[in-house]
Amino acid sequence: MDNANTDVIQGTMDMLILKMLSLEPMHGFGIGRRVEQVSRGVFKVNPGSLLTAMQRMERAGWIESEWRQTENARRAKFYRLTRVGKKQLEVESEDWARRAGAIARLMKAEG
């Protein structure tokens, strides 16, 4: 289990972050922990890649950020989904569903 690949599937990082943020505003570590928990440890995110992705998405106008207090009284940068981001999440999840379905069908194919 130690050597299992825990990298997020290429190209899905943005969608996962958007999905997590659609539940509630979160800070970076919160997103990382949520991904790990919900995926039951199948995916683990690297902070460098995650925060770089946050920068890129903020720049694209999908999310907004703000520094405020966390529940345990630390200051953290919280991210929130914007309207554009919501639309983007719809686009990406539709696209993903379509492709995942296709892959599932292909893998079930029998000679």
Partner: protein, 874 residues
């Protein structure tokens, strides 16, 4: 939209860069703090949590670095930082910077200058309307392969009448003519053109109107320059009258100053559409034509091929094997200059190569000094690109500085080049620095930067931290590959310089061969007067002849003058004629190769004045008159060509100059080289002026003098003016004319020698730098050797031997290369064989000496190393 966001964020981040950095740092720190807090909640100690997080997520530093580098503005910032770093480095190493920048300035400047000439002459479109549709008609003989840029009148008229692809065809001819204005006479380039000329070039007069062929020999167009110089303004010139060959011409229009086709023409005189000459073997005209829009050169040529075939069928004698061709006008004008310009281009490319090698070497030395710095950077986790970037940046900066200095250097160089350029260099007045040249310069600067930084960059990228730390250049513990690399650069440099030196040597030897040549006449102490006595009617010609004959006698009597004579067809002058001739009682004639000779018309005393030796019979005298028996004097090789060993005196000869009369050969004189010293002496047929008056009004007067020829100018001018003030005059000396006849060769030789000198200087710098560096590095080793008893001589000899070995290897490679490149210059050599041992050996000696000289200073320093100091130094 996304782009706009990216741009706005980037700019905001650039403006508040420290705030943003803090923001990223805080966020990453908070991330790691939360992660550790989460671990501790699972019951780990603070230390355990820290280690677990680190194991799982890597270091905080790495994450921070990753996030920070996101966004285009960070690339900009990193590049800017590298640039600043490079700039600081350059300022800190002034010796390196100056040497590299000046070296490149020389290389890039030479290239920019030559490219300016090439761009303006060979590449830029002609400065005429429809420039790419203009063509010149050529005549070519398929049997001999010989071609001329001239056509016969009837052939050109047939082309005009029958071609569909050529919209307009214009016949023209002309030259430097004496032009009589109201109060003075002047020499100007005059061209006779038909009315189609203005259609071909789409001419619009800035004042007045164009002419029609109905006004032939009565109307002229003048250039704006001519109008301004002689009448004050274009408007003032309109309606004025001037005389050319004693025709009265009215100025009906003025053409813009930029137009001067052909050959800097100032006056265009109307000529009839149907040319005066109806011979299909007299190539008296040039013809320029305009291709129909959309018609390809190929289809026009196909049309001319068919036409030429019809003409060959209709005139089997005159048009035998004769084909008319269309040549793009730009090519026709510049074709002859092309080899010289390409040779110069190849030369400056070689210089740039040498400069590149020098800068590569300098960079290499720099990068070796930085080896440890680079190793440390790599050990700390820099990527290959991150270590290469500062190296490339530095090189780029040096190249750009070099390019700026190079362009500044090119500006005066181009001016000197144009001033020095032979008259034969076409389009010289159009040569100027422009955007293309700047773009070219930028391109070579960037490629120079890339080439020069290639080796150092690769070495930096490959640098192995552990290896680099072990190496210690100052103690002579350099990797063997490094030294071999630097030696290779020196060898390449010597090879390139050798090629240049050999080329320069051969062209120089060509020059000296030309200057030493026996022309067949004595060139010193001869004053030459270009004299044009206007004549139109038959009586004018006899008057001109009488006036000139009187003048020769008077001028011969002047103090300081030995003798004076007149001639049409003076060697190296622009007048003269040539053609086929026939003999009676001569050797049988081969119909395929009719005998050919230069025709020269001379006054009595011409041979004495020029000191052309009389070998047999007599020269011309007063008894050879228009009413008497027609006579001729022939040159030695004409005698051999047509009469063999038999005595030619008394034989009959006939030529197509102006009269079908048979002439009796009365004398044989020595051969002369007619056009330039580069030419072989050939057959010449001399005829007396008195029997050919139509060739006796536009002549050269030659005076053999006892004093400095030009000191007589005023006295001679006064004498001529007293005879006839309408005679236009130009003064020069035979020596000056001879000099002018080899300007192309001189231009080539001077430029190549200059460039070879620059190359030699660069090579010397390169060798000096390399040896100096290796001596500095081997100080420790030399110290040890001396401590063990090596003497100074051995140390010095070792270093000089190394330098001369490198030089010899370079020479060997250079010799191979120059043998391969000989083809480039073969056509430009006179009196020198393409593989010239003298040039090869002297170039080799020069380079070995240069290498030894360049190595001797550092060698001397090495031999005087104080062992105690060297061993202690660190």
């Amino acid at each position: 939209m996304a782009l706009w966001h990216a741009l706005r964020y980037g700019l905001r981040n650039l403006a508040h860069s420290s705030e943003r950095a803090k923001d990223v740092d805080d966020e990453v720190a908070q991330y790691f703090a939360e992660a550790e807090a989460a671990m501790r909640q699972r019951g780990m100690s603070a230390e355990e949590a820290r280690q677990a997080v680190r194991k799982e997520m890597g270091t905080m530093n790495a994450a921070r670095e990753q996030v920070r580098t996101f966004g285009w503005e960070n690339t900009v910032r990193a590049t800017w930082a590298d640039l600043c770093f490079a700039m600081r480095q350059l300022v800190k190493h002034p010796a390196f910077t100056w040497t590299a920048v000046l070296t490149l300035a020389l290389g890039i400047g030479a290239n920019a200058a030559i490219f300016t000439v090439i761009q303006s002459v060979l590449l830029a479109p002609l400065p005429y309307a429809n420039a790419n549709r203009l063509v010149l008609l050529n005549t070519r003989w398929t049997d001999s392969g010989h071609a001329t840029q001239r056509v016969t009148g009837p052939d050109a008229v047939d082309v005009r009448a029958q071609s569909n692809d050529l919209l307009a065809v214009s016949l023209y001819n002309g030259g430097n003519e004496g032009v009589q204005l109201r109060d003075h006479a002047t020499y100007t380039n005059v061209t006779w053109v038909d009315e189609n000329f203005s259609r071909v070039f789409d001419l619009q007069p800035i004042a007045g109107r164009l002419f029609s062929s109905a006004e032939a020999n009565h109307a002229v167009l003048v250039s704006e320059t001519f109008a301004r110089d002689n009448f004050g303004s274009a408007q003032a010139a309109l309606g004025q009258t001037l005389h050319i060959e004693s025709d009265a011409e009215e100025i009906v229009g003025v053409l813009p100053a930029g137009f001067n086709f052909p050959d800097e023409t100032q006056i265009w005189e109307a000529s009839p559409l149907n040319p005066a000459s109806n011979s299909r073997t007299a190539f008296n005209y040039h013809a320029v034509a305009l291709l129909r829009g959309g018609a390809a050169l190929k289809s026009a040529q196909a049309e001319l091929n068919a036409l030429s075939q019809r003409l060959q069928d209709n005139y089997p004698q005159e048009n035998r094997a004769k084909v008319l061709q269309v040549i793009p006008l730009a090519e026709a004008l510049t074709g002859k200059a092309r080899p010289t310009l390409l040779l110069l281009w190849a030369t400056v490319a070689m210089i740039l190569l040498i400069a590149c090698v020098n800068v590569t070497h300098l960079q290499l030395v720099r990068s070796m000094e930085r080896q440890r710095e680079i190793a440390i950077r790599k050990a700390l986790g820099s990527s290959a690109w991150q270590v290469i970037r500062p190296v490339v940046m530095e090189s780029l900066l040096v190249s750009l500085l070099g390019a700026v200095a190079g362009v500044l250097l090119a500006l005066p160089t181009v001016r000197i080049l144009v001033a020095m350029a032979p008259r034969e260099l076409p389009r010289a007045s159009e040569i100027h620095l422009n955007g293309w040249v700047l773009a070219f310069t930028l391109a070579i600067a960037v490629s120079t930067a890339l080439i020069a930084s290639l080796l150092p960059a690769v070495r930096a990228a490959k640098a192995n931290a552990a290896e680099a730390m072990k190496q210690d250049a100052a103690h002579g513990m350099e990797k063997r590959g490094t030294r071999r690399l630097r030696d290779g650069l020196v060898i390449a440099e010597v090879a390139a310089t050798f090629v240049l030196a050999v080329g320069a040597g051969m062209l120089l030897r060509t020059m000296t061969a030309l200057m030493k040549r026996n022309m067949g006449y004595q060139t010193q102490q001869v004053l030459v007067v270009d004299a044009d006595n206007p004549a139109h009617a038959d009586t004018d010609y006899t008057r001109a002849l009488r006036q000139f004959s009187g003048l020769f006698a008077q001028l011969g009597q002047m103090p300081g003058v030995v003798s004076a004579a007149g001639v049409m067809g003076l060697p190296t002058s622009e007048y003269g004629s040539n053609g086929y001739y026939k003999t009676q009682g001569g050797l049988p004639m081969d119909a395929q190769h009719k005998p050919y000779a230069n025709f020269t018309v001379a006054s009595p005393g011409y041979f004495d004045t020029m000191e052309i030796p009389l070998l047999r019979g007599r020269g011309f005298n007063g008894g050879d008159t228009a009413d008497g028996q027609f006579v001729a004097v022939i040159s030695e090789s004409l005698a051999k060509q047509s009469f063999g060993d038999a005595d030619p005196i008394g034989r009959l000869i006939q030529c197509g100059l102006d009269s079908p009369k048979w002439m009796t050969v009365v004398g044989v004189v020595g051969d002369v080289r007619q056009d330039s010293p580069a030419e072989q002496p050939g057959p010449t047929l001399y005829m007396p002026m008195a029997q050919h008056p139509y060739y006796a009004n536009q002549i050269h007067i030659v005076l053999r003098t006892k004093v400095k020829p030009l000191s007589l100018v005023n006295a001679v001018r006064a004498k001529v003016m007293r005879t006839n003030p309408a005679i236009a005059m130009k003064f020069t000396t035979m020596d000056a004319m001879l000099n002018d006849s080899i300007t192309v060769e001189r231009f080539r030789a001077i430029l190549l020698v200059t460039f070879a000198g620059a190359g030699l200087l660069l090579a010397m710098l390169g060798i000096y730098g390399t040896i100096e560096y290796s001596v500095a590095q081997r100080g420790f080793e030399i110290g040890i050797r001396m401590a063990f008893g090596a003497n100074k001589g051995t140390i010095l000899a070792g270093i000089l031997k190394h330098a001369s070995l490198l030089a010899c290897l370079g020479i060997a490679i250079g010799a191979g290369a120059s043998l391969m490149l000989t083809r480039l210059v073969t056509a430009m050599l006179v009196g020198v064989r393409p593989i010239d041992p003298v040039s090869l050996v002297s170039a080799a000696l020069l380079l070995v000496l240069t290498a030894i000289l360049a190595a001797s200073a550092p060698g001397w320093k090495a031999a005087h190393v104080n062992p105690v100091q060297a061993l202690r130094a660190e």
